[in-house]
Symmetry: D2
């Protein structure tokens, strides 16, 4: 890294890229970037061009001499990289539309990181991330992989467990939302509050202490019932049962609503699904994205537009840039990341990936030991981790029986014939991106499995 | 035990008692009983009289000189007991009707050992079993407690964890069903087949080996799809997804259908609930019981009637008698029982109760170490054990928030407002038997919570 | 096994073989042997001939038609074997003489299963047992390996961990000694007493219960201070500190004296070492063996001679024969064996080998879960298991630094320059049998390391 | 803490106190102290007066308005304290002389934190620290206890396990020595090097990384064989066997020499013991202390004298002051402290005390998860922790059998009759401070146990 840092972003054509650029520009003093490579696939070429030019304009406006390279050749980009960030989406938003609509057409949650949708996103993403890791072993063996492709926890798990690659950190923007919002709720600044997070990606709890070491978690819980506790823009707000939260004396994450308030969360997803003006979340995101790309085309735009915040991933890129700067400059920043457990969450095996408060420095993420949880949280945590392990193994082996097991373990999927139908339709729908399940998919096709949801079926028929 | 064994049966007025007597008579040579005390509560006095006389007739017909004592005074009975069996039902079958109908009135499973019903059966039973244990500490500190009151696993857990009483074994008839049925499916006798069970009560898996040590589990799985694999009479038969069972290469227990085939199991329960000629399972059992008691009244009947098998608990009493004989005669019998884990199921803490193949001798149950499970089973197992621990803790403390946590953790309950309604109605319905939740119930009454299901509401209004 | 069982004994020329034959003859009804193959190496050919003929005479005298084959060709023997027993001694008794004398020449214990001697016995044996396992994978993949080559626990560990061979049971005669002797001490018969052993080979404790389930361990401890508690003939008797044993309320094994009474045990070993009429234990055994082989030469001798008992391994062969019969006839015998932990000793990882009370049947050894130990025993147990793991890893890799670590971890070796001298001399002394340490040994030779003990040096110089 | 911080130092008459004052003066800006209370016992009154006046002179010279109170009334001092530091020595240096000389008189190590001496220091200290904790519960329930009385790890363990007091941090100066010395060895500054420590007090290892995250441990190991690696002044330097250290690729702490080089360490201790001009370490310390107190008497001395460094506890007080400042000012400092494990050292139970790199802030110590160790270190670690647990339990219960167990588990004590003699003599010698062993000591006195070492015996006879 003598002559400045080389950053490679896979999925560089994403609408998030400008936020990433903004984050790097802000940190240039501690993270002197030499060149940025935005990589994408053939289908994403047009977006890559648009966002790539926009990115270069942002750097030019910043006054720093950084060159943004655009390429469809991943290997060319990875050569001698210092940091590789991954924000790609296999199958683009169309795949997410199917992930969401097919389960919803049978009345089940198709959420893109939890539920059936999340499982299939993992099935599509894990084979690709493992290819990227193999490339990295050849082309940039000392680089760090900073992943924010969802489901971020499972992707990180697969990188370590099956890719045998340790230099990886998985990111999520959910904790940052809480960290920014909650201190204000009790009249404090972030710096005067201690956060302790532990759990899994999109499935963690946290405790909060003030700068005298007092537990102020219950004060924040109190406020949560009147104010908004850093809820991500993309998550519908449902109040948890107050007595439950008081019992745990920890703050659940926004995604816990799918588990703690399944009835209401599902009702909301179905309402949107059934509303012809809305459709599933992916359809809404697609509309927002189209707007964003229209904006990005403007040759005068050289800074991140306001509208990006609506996109739902606020702070994601900030997390990525801060992680990279903390590793590069050995900053010892306290962040919440997905990393190898090593005992930090002692209710789970030391060798799995957890999302936990960690110190980020040149050595990567050093998780802070959280200690044991009450059975009420331990039960969920152990269930979810094992579900993730089944998903990862099925993603690697293409074992249909194991995919069934993962589906049935997943608390958002009601087991039975309908669940199996959803599984089968999703396999058919994502055929293009699921080579590991080839034999099963061919069998299902022979059996005449068809997709019930019109939009999902049409996308599939069009090869999208 | 010099002059013969003293057996005390709490809940002695149960329709199961004749089966228990038959089991003891069959084993008199190795288990020389001196006296049997059948204990019941005031509400069960009439049944106790009927069944007690029937029991004495059975002994008289056997030619053995054993006296059957009937009493409502538990302490009198427990004095110097050698073995205490528990088969009582707090609130009798009416309570079970409420356990089942209230959740079903909202479309959720109210199964008496799993689901919301099982949780409330635990809430009612645990305080009583802990009182019995306290009496035993005073009156028969060397006696063994052999429990078959459901939910048998949680009751045994509470006896050890909160009662601090180690001389306990929890029983269930489900494993025996498999052990008797499966060898025949592959053309073998039970004695030529090795069974290895592990898990929790109503939530275990098993593997099968032939007498050359070969794993024949998959052969039995094969047959399961054409024949009946020892399904208990009270469990509706649903086939598991074949690929899932092949992946696990273990045989799930009958109760796994509630978790692996939730949709179909629930549909069946709702169908019965909505059929005015059937009603919930408890209502059917009540009818069977009434028939049985009519038979028992016959002063000429001195042996177990055929109809008892329909009752659903076949082999339960056989398990109890064999356990007692194995302890008394130090027989080293291989049985599947609920006992302290001690590492046998190494995916769970050593100090919780598991249901596992064990050697039964004078020292009680010595569990056989089963080793680790695949994540697909480990996830379920850890979830369920932690759910059980929450139920036990809530049963002892009466903490409403923890009751909510237990409900939400339970995979058969869909979390949200409806789940909370069910919880609240069940608290109201069982007020009489839930002193630990007194404050909460009073609050709910003030808030005007009423029971939606007509039959359950009427029973409650009548104080039944 | 249709036409009778084929047994292969590696190290067949051992003086133990007649005891093994006696055991098989006694059990012929339940274990119908067709043929026995005694295998040995070139150096052992003469003994093989003598003992082989003796073995055939024993079978002929028994009236059973069993052929004893003698061979130096291991592969020929292993073909289609049903059971393979291993009792070989790499380097014969001369190697043991060095194992013992070299440490003793520096005032440290060179005990053949514990101490420096045991470590080197493992270093010599593990590469050979792994070769045998590779042969078995090819020639008799369904056979069971029944090992009684010492250090039996480490050898079994290596077979499972590095050989990836599960069908193995490790044996030791120490537990049988206690099981036979102790009931008599309290006026009972073995069948009326329940033993629960747990720990490691030559490092286990046990508890005893009567046939009413009462803990009678303390009664036996009481007697231990007046009578002999099944001490093996080859172990010098030293009383443990009474208060220590009372505190543990478990009975240590005879080999614990090396750890609990290091001073006295070592003094005794040194006394013998310094006595020109005795020498180290191996020298005494050699004399006994010579006598035995003289007896075996007698063409009229067709039964196990009395003198064999003095040899120290009494009941070893009995254990082996009973294990084999229990597997073959699916007997569910309760025995103490070295087997994969699977949680039975929950203070150690599930995937290491422990020595523990187990049920032996067609499926091999099913360990009985023992539960956690008090820190006083847990500390020793965890130390010793980790020491064993270091020894096994060093035996496989030939890593000198790890050999140093194993030496230093071993409680019978006082760390420092002298320990390193002993290690180095032993490497030189056993060069012939330690190909994995070739580079290190060559380095040590260049550095001029010589063996201080005259007898050990002369044996080495003679290539013995 | 509105009007400034109140610090209480128990054992305030210690020669370390001026260093502590210096540390506080240096940090006054971030730790605004209002008053300091130095507490001591009657026997230490004279020293307390001397050092107390010296302490007040130091503050007066600093220009800060801080009052130093001197008292023999612990309760008066503890009232409303914010931080309590403990540096007391039960029985003063005379007790340490006995701890060292009695074992050495029999040729065994009597080291004051390891070996027999350390065990007895724990036996004397734990009852007193538990009394202090009881006082704190009454008088200053929100205070933090910062302990540096040795054996610091076991004392901290006892405070948490038996005192049920969580607000405690145990300190040691050994890690700081390494942290200061090692970076220089590879031409770096401390701030550019990442240290990761894990283990137990006086029994930890560490790894070192540079500010690019590269493992530079082996570079430092290289230098350790030519330079001094931060060895404490009170520890004799012995080189570890190079291949062993290379194998572990971790840096052992200075105290590991007692375990890894027992022979040489013991030889050195015995050499000093047998040298009439030196005596045991405690005797040397006593001489140094006398010199220090002579200096402290000088009414013109108002700063820490150079000679204090020789005392052996360099950086101890610095560690204490930095810990207190980090808690008070919520500094998130990375320090190595004894704290509740919580999974950080995942080879040990979560609920025991470990010494590990931690982040120190208002919430106390947050240990960084270290992950699993190789069996070679794991074996030692588990042995030592269990030995510590036995010592703590014996210290609380006074169980003689358990004291024997602790002695025998301790790797520096060779088990047997001599070890028991040492144990018995130490009990007699420390009678005054071991009320929990009263009955045993009386029995030993009756049996006529006498102390062999002249100096230790005379001290005892004089009641010192």
């Amino acid at each position: 890294m003598n002559q400045g840092v080389k950053i490679v972003t896979i999925g560089g054509g994403s609408s998030y890229t400008p936020e990433l650029m903004e984050g790097f520009i802000k940190r240039y003093d501690e993270l002197p970037i030499r060149e940025i490579w935005l990589v994408d696939v053939e289908e994403g070429k047009e977006k890559l061009e648009i966002v790539g030019k926009m990115a270069q304009r942002m750097w030019d406006a910043s006054g720093y001499d950084v060159k943004v390279h655009l390429t469809l050749d991943r290997k060319e980009a990875l050569k001698d990289a210092d940091f590789v960030t991954t924000q790609f989406r296999v199958g683009l938003l169309n795949a997410r539309i199917k992930d969401e609509r097919i389960p919803l057409s049978y009345g089940m949650a198709g959420q893109e990181t939890n539920g059936a949708g999340g499982i299939f996103k993992a099935f599509r993403t894990i084979p690709v991330i493992l290819e990227i890791v193999e490339d990295m072993k050849q082309l940039c063996p000392n680089a760090w992989l900073v992943n924010f492709t969802n489901p971020s926890g499972m992707v990180t798990e697969a990188v370590i467990r099956y890719g045998k690659w340790d230099r990886v950190i998985g990111l999520c923007n959910v904790p940052i939302g809480s960290i920014l919002a909650e201190p204000k709720m009790i009249g404090k600044e972030s710096k005067d509050v201690i956060f302790k997070f532990a759990g899994l990606n999109h499935f963690h709890w946290h405790k909060v202490y003030d700068n005298s070491g007092n537990d102020v978690t219950s004060q924040i819980i109190d406020k949560m019932y009147t104010e908004d506790a850093g809820m991500p823009a993309n998550v519908f707000k449902v109040d948890f049962i107050r007595e439950q939260v008081d019992q745990m004396n920890m703050i659940p994450c926004a995604y816990h609503q799918y588990y703690y308030k399944e009835e209401e969360s599902l009702a909301h997803l179905l309402e949107e699904y059934n509303d012809p003006n809305k459709g599933s979340r992916a359809q809404q995101v697609k509309a927002t994205e189209d707007e964003l790309f229209e904006l990005y085309k403007d040759p005068n735009l050289d800074h991140k537009p306001e509208q990006l915040a609506k996109r739902g991933g606020a702070h994601y890129s900030d997390a990525a840039c801060e992680t990279i700067a903390s590793i590069y400059a050995n900053k010892n920043t306290n962040m919440v990341v997905s990393t190898l457990n090593r005992g930090a969450v002692c209710d789970l095996p030391w060798d799995c990936v957890v999302e936990v408060s960690s110190i980020i420095n040149a050595q990567g993420a050093q998780p802070l030991a959280f200690g044991p949880m009450h059975p009420a949280e331990k039960g969920w945590l152990q269930l979810m981790k094992n579900m993730e392990l089944c998903v990862c193994e099925a993603a690697v082996t293409g074992n249909y029986g194991l995919a069934v097991q993962a589906f049935i373990l997943n608390p958002l999927i009601r087991s039975g014939a309908t669940a199996q139908k959803i599984l089968n339709e999703l396999l058919i729908a994502h055929k293009k991106y699921l080579p590991q399940f080839k034999d099963t998919i061919e069998r299902l096709e022979k059996e005449g499995v068809t997709i019930k949801d019109d939009i999902a079926r049409e996308l599939t028929e069009k090869g999208l």
